[in-house]
Amino acid sequence: MRKQIGMGAAFVATAALLAACSSDPEPAETAETTSAEPTVSTSEAPEAIDASGQTLTIWTDAEREGAIQTVADTFEAETGATVEIVQKNFEDLRNDFIAQVPTGEGPDITVGAHDWAGALVEAGVVNTVDLGETADDFEQVAIDAFTYDGQLYGLPYATEAIALIQNADLVGDTAPTTWDEMIAMSEEAGFEDRPFILFTNGTSGDGYSAYPLQTSFGAPVFVQDESGSYTTEVGMGGEAGQAFAQFLYDNGSAGTGYFSDTIDYDTSNQLFADGESPFILQGPWMPFFDDDSMNLVVSPMVSAGGETAAPFVGVQGFYVSSQSENTLLANQFLTNYMATEDAQRALYEADPRLPALTALAEEFSADPITAGFVASAAQGVPMPSIPQMGDVWDFWNAAEIQLITGTADDPAGTWDSMVSELEAAIG
């Protein structure tokens, strides 16, 4: 084997265990001779495994296909196994995985997002993954995200979160620290009408994009327990939620008019690229990062309510099928080939998302824009992967859009009834 997982810790922690196994001293003594013997008669360096004739099927989307292919080539060369890479639309992966795994036609491994974990667990199509001590090499939020009910279900490789993007040509390159400061900066630069762009996905509403503002009022969607796992207890009710509702209402069409329900993806792109507004709360996927003519500053979202503005962090990674006939090989591939720095680097180069591997995240943070997104993700929370999250969006988005358009003139009441309807639906 090329790499053994975390031997260091093993030496420190096992003594007690073995002592429990063997109460009489004799085996311990023989063991001691054993331990002396191997060091002398250690065999030659272990050869790579030979898995000729075995096929590992991996589902991926187009963006990551190349990078996975690179890792797969190494794996094929070293093990003789065949890796079959199947490309699908990212949107199809989740449901196809759920549909195909039980029929036996599913892959051994699929690329996926962490918030699928709940659905995949309910469908019984996903296996647990054990990264052992390697888990410490990853960003904590990435491991937390793939942890569902205390079990790790995927190997993370990339994180993503929205952050405050600022057009330095318009308002200078000092990042604001509070909502009021940001608005003041904009107004000073002459953007009273549109000091800040909040994406609302048009008239649909988008709780995801507004979430940093919401958390800055201390109103998380679901309450997290002490291990970081989400409970099904809705956390956005009460005064904190009402304050956020009031804030949306005050800055919507009925108030300052900063928020409107006309901002869809293309519009927000265009407005920001045209310099119509100096601030936007968006993710690293926005196209203007390819445009060198704009001087951009990326920083964590400012707080409107006083607490930390925590965005949702989405994590991409790999799931192993529970019905895989090659579980051993699949785990070999993931833990010994995919979890390595080289492989994660290849993935980053193929599809630049923030690396989940801490060493790489730090390395790429030399780029200030990446550093901004990394900082934003670091103060974020994983997007809940519990199935109940699926019920949240409809209520949540609709309520926010009502507040923004001003059609609901009792913000606190609207918010409270949304929360109670949601609680009723979750049951």
Binding site: L18, S43, D50, P102, A123, G124, D130
Partner: protein, 535 residues
């Protein structure tokens, strides 16, 4: 034996056999058939062999039956009509009947996100989910060892090699040799299974994955398992499966979960259930739910009404507008008619989803040119207001589909007999009278069936809805449906293809209902149109 006589009489005459059967001259026809059939057989053989490899027995059997059938039909003399029908029948069976039957089957199950596989798979998944690594235990180097049929693990901890099997607790052994990664390579009394052997034997791999070696006599200390064949860790299962009783028992709380075949879940007495379920037949539950579930029934009723309104209004408006333009531009007095007709057809030439996306942008409340240009920058929320959104959908669909009717009506108008028109004019009929009593009825004969198919098409016109409004603005509540959702986009939402939790059973049940509705309406309408032809 009149028949025989007839044949006997005919025989001297021109042979009745086709080119493909007769070997005359170069035998071109026969050779062509032979080649085609050879190709078909080769294709079938490929499918059969792949099916054999994939162990897909149903496909294998079906392919054999079909190809044998094809050979008999195309080489036997008596099966002439079948030669024409056979390919069509196969396609009908595979692409229509099978899909229909399968959708019908799914409609009576609870197949969906939480009920995806078999009960066996649910048991396996539940066991996986509840086997947790014992806190604070390290990952250790591990080798697979074997003694006859007995498999075991040899692990190195603190430089000491221990061996254990499913039955025997891990015990230190002496005289073992390890490699540079501390994995045992030689264990006295045991044969160490090489990685090469392990990875070339799938059954062995499965046994290794299933193997749990207890680390002590106390069950709660957990047992060693491996995930990759080269390292091990100590795990503890918090749940126990009793195959006899078909129950799971939670070892910590003692809660017993029974396999409930009615709902396809493991359910405890207190009503709590394990997350992973399996697919079971639920009878008419899905159909009942569609009309009784409080969250669903109300929105679905609204969606159904709107679907009818949308389909009917779209056909009426686009037919009307298309006909109007067709009449106008059919007039000889208009110059450049050909050129103008071409321009009219343009909306029809663009892909519908692209046009819909463009319109979505143009209808944007704040930045769209519709409000800017035509309503003096007024703040009209075209896509955010339930009624305006409905209007916008109808408007855009009118824009998209009137060119079709313009084309059809122009063609039909030009095919009308000019003598009839002339005769009516001589009888003193005015233009309106002419149109009402002659043009329209004659036009309806050829266009009514098209109107019906247009209705059926628009009844399921997913593209326009999805691209323009995505069904929004949403109804209050969790149905996930909205004011402009039609049945097919509602089904799409419910099926969970768009994200969220999938309920294929309910989606299939709704599809069946839509199929029946469209079928009935089309049947009635076609029956009605036959009357038109009697004019």
């Amino acid at each position: 034996m009149a028949n025989d006589d007839a044949v006997a009489v005919k025989e001297p005459k021109a042979p009745r056999e086709s080119h493909a059967r007769r070997w005359s001259g170069l035998g071109g026809g026969f050779i062509a058939k032979l080649l085609l059939m050879a190709l078909v057989n080769a294709l079938a053989l490929t499918i059969i062999m792949s099916a054999w490899n994939a162990e897909a027995w149903a496909i294998l059997t079906l392919s054999i039956v079909l190809i044998v059938g094809a050979d008999i039909i195309y080489f036997a003399k008596r099966t002439l009509p079948l030669k024409y029908l056979y390919p069509g029948l196969i396609f009908l069976a595979i692409f229509q009947l099978f899909t229909l039957a399968y959708t019908g089957y799914v409609a009576f199950t609870n197949y969906g996100t939480g009920h995806a596989g078999s009960q066996q798979q649910a048991v396996e998944a539940t066991l996986i989910q509840n086997e947790r690594r014992v806190d604070g235990t390290p990952t250790v180097p591990l080798s697979i060892v074997r003694d006859g049929d007995t498999l075991g693990f040899a692990v190195t901890q603190d430089g000491i090699v221990s061996v254990g099997t499913e039955e025997d607790v891990l015990e230190p052994v002496s005289g073992a040799v390890v490699d540079t990664n501390s994995r045992p390579t030689e264990v006295p009394g045991w044969e160490v299974v090489s990685q090469n052997e392990l990875f070339s034997d799938q059954d062995l791999q499965q046994d290794v994955i299933d193997l749990r070696v207890p680390v002590s006599d106390e069950a709660e200390d957990g047992s060693m398992r491996t995930r990759d064949g080269s390292s091990g860790a100590i795990y503890q299962s918090s749940i126990e499966w009793d195959d006899e009783a078909q129950t799971f028992t939670d070892k910590e709380t003692g809660t017993v979960y029974y396999a409930d075949q009615e709902v396809g879940n493991f359910v405890a007495d207190d009503g709590s259930r394990l997350p992973t379920g399996w697919s079971v037949t639920v009878g008419f539950d899905n159909f009942v739910r569609a009309v009784t579930d409080q969250n669903l029934a109300g929105p679905l009723l609204k969606v159904t009404l709107w679907t009818f309104a949308f389909a009917v209004l779209t056909v009426l408006t686009s037919f009307g507008l298309g006909l109007l333009f067709a009449l106008i531009y059919n007039d000889d007095r208009i110059r450049g008619r050909k050129w103008m007709r071409t321009v009219f057809i343009l909306p029809y030439a663009f892909p519908a989803f692209m046009s819909a996306l463009l319109w979505r942008g143009m209808l944007n409340r704040e930045f769209g040119i519709i409000n800017d240009w035509f309503f003096f920058g007024a703040d009209i929320n075209w896509l955010g207001d339930p009624w305006l959104a409905k209007f916008a959908i109808l408007w855009v669909n009118l824009w998209l589909s009137y060119p079709y009717w313009f084309l059809v009506c122009t063609g039909a108008l030009q095919a009308l007999p000019s003598e009839t028109m002339e005769a009516s004019r001589m009888d003193g009929a005015g233009r309106w009278r002419q149109f009402r009593s002659i043009t329209l009825p004659l036009l309806m004969v050829s266009t009514a069936p098209l109107a019906i198919s247009s209705f059926a098409f628009n009844f399921n016109n997913f593209t326009i809805i999805y691209m323009l409004t995505e069904g929004g603005p949403p109804f209050p509540g969790t149905s996930g449906l909205g004011s402009t959702d039609i049945l097919i986009s509602a089904i799409y939402n419910i099926s969970g293809v768009s994200g969220g939790s999938a309920d294929y059973g309910l989606a299939s049940a709704l599809s069946i209902i839509v199929f029946i509705v469209v079928g009935i309406i089309s049947a009635i309408a076609f029956r009605q149109t036959r009357k038109l032809e009697e004019i």
